[in-house]
């Protein structure tokens, strides 16, 4: 334990005293969140989103006209109750159930819902039962904050662990440690715990700082949010350890880390919802740890999801962590 704490303390000191890196970890996400809050503080986006439950193929020609309306995005939904919640949170402007009973839901407080109702009636669709949902609007900034914080965790964990270990290997520091009784497991654990403590502290500080200015929504429990954030960070650190297990070229490590982070940043739902996107993209996203971290954190914050709701995300993150650590520690080398 003495050896573990020695390495942990040294790494913490190195991080905290490296003011440029420390500052970047704090101010980058803060600026992003504040920037988005300003950019999206005006009117909601002009695009109409309609969730469609059931198949529209068997509809009469007159009825199907509505589903060909331009400038309206029709999104197939498979979980009606979740989609109703989304109408309540202004994430969908309308939900239509065409399968049986013919019902539609709009948010009583949403102007878009009113317009879509008029469109639905105007295209000859009769006999739909009107149902209303009430709920607080989820602003884009409320929606995007979990994504930005998770993305910052991803960058910090992958580059802060992966890149640093490769640098240690390249400059011979790992070789120097190999000449001591320190075991690889103790070294890797210290790197992991150090980064975990620092990134969680920074994320809490950024969260509190942003919340002071923006007052974003937090409908779920902080304990669950902390849990999914911690597991997500451990998963990202493990991925960083895996990438850095053998490399000694900073250029190659940088390239590989970019190769991993960029797809995650684009395909994990950080900036936009993946609903309605290509099914292949949605499938690929399920293999990215950031997707599960973002979805878990976002569902807690914007929908008030409980432990049971986020359990599948936690399970996937735990599985990925076990996989990354196992392979990383097997192939790790000091030199």
């Amino acid at each position: 334990m003495k050896r573990f704490f020695a390495i942990l303390h040294a790494r913490n000191m190195e991080f905290l005293r490296d003011k440029s890196s420390f500052g970047w970890n704090i101010f980058f996400p803060l600026l992003l969140v504040l920037g988005f809050a300003m950019v999206f503080s005006g009117d909601p986006k002009p695009l109409y989103k309609v969730g469609v439950f059931g198949s529209t193929e068997g509809l009469k020609p007159a009825e199907s006209q509505f589903f060909k309306t331009k400038y309206v995005q029709f999104i197939p939904v498979y979980d009606r109750e979740k989609a109703i919640d989304k109408v309540g949170h202004f994430q969908l402007d309308m939900l239509i159930d065409v399968s049986h009973g013919k019902q539609y839901w709009v948010n009583a407080d949403a102007p878009n819902g009113y317009i879509l109702e008029r469109l639905l009636g105007g295209t000859g669709n009769k006999g739909y039962e009107r149902l209303t949902v009430q709920g607080r609007e989820i602003r884009y900034v409320d929606w995007v904050v979990p994504g930005i914080l998770a993305m910052n965790m991803m960058f910090s964990c992958l580059f802060g662990v992966g890149f640093v270990i490769v640098r240690y290997r390249k400059n011979g520091f790992l070789k120097r440690l190999k000449a001591t009784p320190l075991r690889p497991f103790e070294f890797l654990l210290a790197q992991m715990v150090s980064r975990l403590l620092l990134i969680l502290t920074i994320t809490v500080a950024v969260y509190a700082g942003c919340n002071y200015f923006i007052h974003f929504q937090m409908r779920g429990s902080y304990a669950n949010l902390f849990l999914v954030s911690t597991l997500g960070a451990i998963c990202m650190i493990s991925l960083g350890l895996l990438v850095s297990a053998r490399l000694s070229s900073e250029e190659l490590a940088g390239g590989l880390l970019n190769l991993i982070t960029w797809p995650m940043m684009l395909l994990s739902g950080v900036w936009f919802s993946l609903e309605g996107t290509n099914p292949v993209v949605q499938k690929v996203a399920q293999f990215l740890p950031l997707t599960h971290l973002v979805d878990g954190a976002r569902s807690i914050m914007t929908e008030g999801a409980g432990f049971g709701d986020i359990a599948p995300h936690l399970a996937v993150l735990a599985l990925m962590t076990a996989l990354f650590i196992s392979i990383g520690s097997l192939i790790f080398r000091w030199e």
């Binding site: 003495k2 050896r3 704490f5 020695a6 390495i7 303390h9 040294a10 790494r11 000191m13 190195e14 005293r17 490296d18 240690y168 400059n171 011979g172 520091f173 070789k175 120097r176 440690l177 190999k178 000449a179 001591t180 009784p181 320190l182 030199e335």
Partner: protein
Amino acid sequence: MTACYCILYSMAPIIEVNNLVKTYPGVRAVDDVSLAIEHGVCFGLLGPNGAGKTTLIELVEGIKQADSGGIVYKGRPLGRAFLKDAGIQFQVTALQEFLTVQETLKLFKDLYPRTMAVNEVIRLCSLEEFLDRDTRKLSGGQRQRLLMALALINDPEVLFLDEPTTGLDPQSRRNFWDLINLIKSRKKTVVLTTHYMDEAYTLCDEIAIMDRGKIITQGTPEQLLKEHFGDVVLQFPEEDVNGKLEGLGLCASKQPGWCEIQTHDIDGTIKILLGRNVSLSRMNMRSWSLEDLFIALTGKQLRS
């Protein structure tokens, strides 16, 4: 019975290297090397750049794995226990950034179960003046002293120093030699690689000369010089002896413009020279050096 074992143990080499081979693509860096290092000696491994010194020493340290052959430490195959007993200073190394000298000492101290008191290491390596300095801001000499302190922090039985004075100014080198002599006086075994002959001659009790992955000779510096050369060499400008020593077989070697004569009997040789009317006014007399030995054995300069 116990006393008998103690005597046997103290006489056995602390490190034995048996038929060690290490190959890299296209080069046999260590080629079937065997040697033994006695307890408490300063053992010097000499050779030009690329001779295989660093590879050999890192195999012995357990940092690299040999293709074949074995290393025995205190009568047993090299294992994890060796890491607790060994102090190692690499030729090139980096330290954790943003830490002071004092913090770096504490970091390495905490990696070992048995250590020397930090204050003692600080005093031994004269680190007092820059204890609170960031390790990135040390001069070359200060950095070498810190690296030596880190190698000593576990109070090692064997100290490995890989070209510890390369790149240091003459004053820093001298200071480093004093430090190594102080460590030697504590009965530590020191394994030193260098390509400075004066360093090896000053510090080492025993040396092995290595070239192209092989040990080409081994012994004490005095033994090796005696074995391969006469006691002294007399040097004359070629024009002073031209044609005057023919038939005597005295002129052992010719450097461009110079004639060199090896001899055990200075008085007798000088009498012969005077008898042949050789002028002694421009004669140089010098002892053979390890540099000469290396050239004689390999046909090339040590630092080439």
